[in-house]
Amino acid sequence: MKYLKQFCIILLISFLGELLHILIPLPIPASVYGLVLMLTALCTGILKLTQVRETADFLIEIMPVMFIPAAVGLLESWSALQPIWLPVIVVTVLTTIIVMAATGRVTQYMIHRSHRQKMKGADTP
C-alpha cells in the first residue's frame, strides 16, 4: 500500500499545481508549480521524504520514456518545419552547445573562485 499512498500524494501535488496554473495567468506550467509546492512541502516538514521517496525515484527513473510520444510527434510537425529546416537545425545545434558550455564554464569558474577565496582566508587568519 506504500506505493499507492505515495503516488496519491504526488498526484495530489500535481493537481494543486494544475489548479495554480488555471488560477494564475502566467505561462508557467502545472509541473513547475507542482515542483515548487513539493519542495516547499518537504522543506517545511509538511511532507516527509519517506512519504514520497520510492515512487518519486521510480517516476524519475522512467522519465526518458515519457518523452517518446512527444518526440514521435515530430513526424506531424515536419510540414511546418520544412520551409525553414536549415536555419532551424543550425540554430538548434549551435545554441545548444553554446548554452551548455556557457552555463557549465561560468558555474565551474565561480565554484573554483569561491574555493580559492576560502583557501586564502584560511591562510591569513
Binding site: I10, S14, L26, P27, I28, P29, S31, V32, G34, L35, L37, M38, L39, L42, C43, L49, T55, L59, I60, I62, M63, P64, V65, M66, F67, I68, P69, A70, A71, V72, G73, L74, L75, S77, A80, L81, I84, P87, V90, V91, T92, V93, L94, T95, T96, I98, V99, M100, A101, A102, T103, G104, R105, V106, T107, Q108, M110, I111, H112, S114
Partner: protein
C-alpha cells in the same frame, strides 16, 4: 492489421516501452553516446508507424498515457533537489551565476543567428524559448506571436540533442564539476537533458532539475525583452 492497430489503446504504449527497452539493450551492447535510448526508441517508433501506415493520433491513443505521467514525474524532481539543498545553499552564487549566463547565452545566440539568417520576427520569437521545458516554451512562443508547433518541435530536438552530446561537450570544454554539469544540462536542454543528468549522478540530477525551473522562469522574462530587438 492496420484497423486493429488504429483501434487499440495499448499499441502505442507497448511499442513505446518496447522500443525504449531495445534502445537500452543496444546502448549496453555498443556503449556509444550517439546510441541514446530515447533517440533509438523515437526512430524505431517512427519507423514502425511509417511502415504500418499508422497515423500519429492512433498511436497517441495509447501513448498519451505515458505522457500523462510527465507532470507527476517533473513534480518529483523536487525530491533529489531537496536532498541536495545543503549543497545548493553552499554554492548559491555560482548556481545563480551559471543559470543566468546560460539563459542570456541562449537568448543572445538565437538573436545573433536569427539576424545572420535574416529570419522574420515570427520565426525569431518561435526559436527564442527553444532551451526551456515544453510547457513554458509553448506559452512563451504563443504570447510573443510565434508558431508554437514549431517551438515544441525545436524544444524536443534541443532536448534529445543535449542528451546525446552532453558528455562530449563536457569533455571538450573541460567541465568537470558535477554542479556545473547538472546546471548545463538543465539550462541547455530542460527535462530531457535532466534525464541524462540523473544518469550521471545525484548532484547532477538535482542541479539539472533546479535549472529547468529557474531557467524556464528567467526565459519568460528574458524572451519578452529580447523579442523587441528584432
Amino acid at each position: 492489421m492496420k484497423a486493429y492497430l488504429a483501434d487499440s489503446v495499448f499499441f502505442g504504449a507497448v511499442i513505446s516501452l518496447a522500443a525504449y527497452e531495445a534502445g537500452l539493450l543496444i546502448r549496453r551492447r555498443f556503449k556509444l553516446a550517439v546510441l541514446n535510448p530515447l533517440l533509438i526508441a523515437t526512430v524505431c517508433v517512427m519507423a514502425v508507424l511509417t511502415l504500418f501506415k499508422v497515423e500519429y493520433r492512433h498511436y497517441n491513443e495509447g501513448a498519451r498515457y505515458i505522457s500523462y505521467l510527465l507532470t507527476p514525474a517533473t513534480v518529483c524532481l523536487a525530491v533529489p533537489l531537496y536532498q541536495q539543498l545543503m549543497l545548493l545553499r553552499k554554492n548559491l552564487k555560482a548556481v545563480a551565476g551559471g543559470i543566468t549566463a546560460g539563459v542570456l547565452a541562449s537568448l543572445a545566440s538565437v538573436f545573433v543567428l536569427a539576424k545572420l539568417f535574416s529570419l522574420t520576427h515570427e520565426q525569431y520569437v518561435t526559436l527564442l524559448p527553444k532551451s526551456i521545458t515544453t510547457a513554458i516554451g509553448m506559452g512563451v512562443s504563443e504570447e510573443l506571436g510565434g508558431i508554437s508547433t514549431i517551438t515544441v518541435a525545436v524544444i524536443i530536438v534541443t532536448g534529445i540533442l543535449g542528451n546525446v552530446i552532453a558528455e562530449s561537450v563536457f569533455k571538450i570544454f573541460r567541465i568537470e564539476e558535477p554542479i556545473a554539469k547538472g546546471l548545463a544540462l538543465g539550462t541547455a536542454s530542460h527535462a530531457i537533458g535532466t534525464a541524462k543528468a540523473m544518469e550521471l549522478g545525484e548532484v547532477e540530477g538535482a542541479m539539472s532539475s533546479l535549472a529547468i525551473a529557474v531557467a524556464g522562469l528567467m526565459t519568460v522574462v528574458g524572451a519578452s525583452l529580447f523579442a523587441n530587438l528584432m
